[in-house]
Symmetry: C2
């Protein structure tokens, strides 16, 4: 395939930049590595029936009660007041989550997901499902926007690194004419030999380590421990059956 | 000085993110490497009396006529229609510009400069005045925001690289609690041995090379050939007399 016939691959480093991208014509990958999208793929891999992403805590409680579902979410890195569970992938083992519905709200990831609602398709990405994301994107041959959830609209390290990991893996199948994609790829190539060490100066790394969550951070930076592809269908994230 | 007593050093990768930063309390460095801020320091180094940055072509013409000044600027990388001169540093040798006033409008750099008008202080930065910028920032001991002009709000490689060069040089004098700063620094460290080669995939690099402007690009990526510090005073950029 000639370069100009390939679909575009772009990286959007913050939700505040999403308006610059053509989401309607693209698959948007929602990336919130620490920890929303890592937890989403983990819960689905462990057999959750579906995950309903919602924007705020009140809606989370209301829908959770109506469906008899698990209510989960965080604000500023901690379990949000009024919800039962948080945003740690370790809260969602198979013994707990299999067959269940989880209603989830998070600081950044669920916000971006709602902003991207007009996309051709929405999936979620994180290191635990890195290969699943890459395989899916290559198979679709559509334009792709790797959308970083960031931290309250500020560019963050971990989402950029994941975007860079995807770019480095699948760039040959796409046109890459986007400096954010080049910067993300370069960051990933610089850090990939030890992402945990590379992240030491990052703001949310320090925040989570300060909460005693090193185990979560290590899990969220490790590829392919939850190989599943979360796909948004009717406002619910379900595991794609390829 | 303990870490918490040091002033902050942050990078803002796009004008569309500037609202997330506290410009009022900071020195803002306007960065538009290709080519506005490279040209600004070059013209001042070559003896221009002042550079008046304006937002649009009509205002540029009006002020230029009123002052009998040089009118200059570009849109989309080319000389803007109705103006006399463009955005190339090579258009402003001492024999032409010494003692003169230049009224300048550009696609991205002058826009960001006007957005940052409430800053404690505004200076401009680019590789030709890298050391002058670093020395000034270290001497001031104020919070610093390295503001990338970007390309129509999209993050770009060249401004990020310059921000990263500054971070890598002066980080010990500041608190760096900003992932954009870490990403910029990492990009610079990866590319510094040959910035021209490192830039090959970047969008505006390709655009300018396509216009035959390799000489401009090489100049704009070379440190310290125009060691002067452009400082905004009464809406005019003048050379700081230290």
């Amino acid at each position: 395939m000639s370069e100009s016939n390939k679909p575009r691959l772009e990286v959007c480093m913050s939700p505040a930049l999403l308006h610059l991208y053509d989401v309607k014509d693209s698959i948007v990958v929602i990336i919130d590595v620490l920890r929303a999208t890592s937890t989403i793929c983990t819960a689905l891999y462990n057999g959750a029936a579906r995950i309903i992403p919602v924007a705020d805590v009140a809606e989370c409680v209301r829908i959770g009660q109506a469906l008899g579902a698990i209510t989960a979410g965080e604000r500023d890195g901690k379990i949000a007041e009024g919800l039962q569970y948080g945003n740690s992938p370790f809260e969602y083992p198979r013994s707990f989550v299999e067959g269940k519905t989880v209603v989830l709200t998070t600081t950044n990831g669920t916000k971006l997901l709602h902003m991207a609602k007009d996309a051709r398709q929405i999936i979620t990405g994180s290191f635990p499902n890195l290969s699943a994301v890459c395989d899916y994107l290559v198979s679709r041959q559509q334009h792709v926007i790797l959308g970083c959830a960031a931290w309250k609209d500020r560019v963050n390290m971990e989402d950029t690194l994941f975007a860079g990991a995807v770019v480095s893996r699948i760039r040959d199948h796409f046109q890459v004419n986007c400096d954010s994609a080049l910067l993300a790829e370069q960051a990933y190539l610089s850090g990939k030999h030890d992402l945990f060490e590379f992240m030491r100066g990052a703001t949310h790394f320090k925040r989570l380590i300060g909460f005693g969550l090193e185990k979560d951070v290590r899990y969220c930076l490790t590829p392919d421990s939850a190989p599943v592809l979360p796909l948004l269908v009717n406002n619910e994230l379900i595991a794609f059956q390829g």
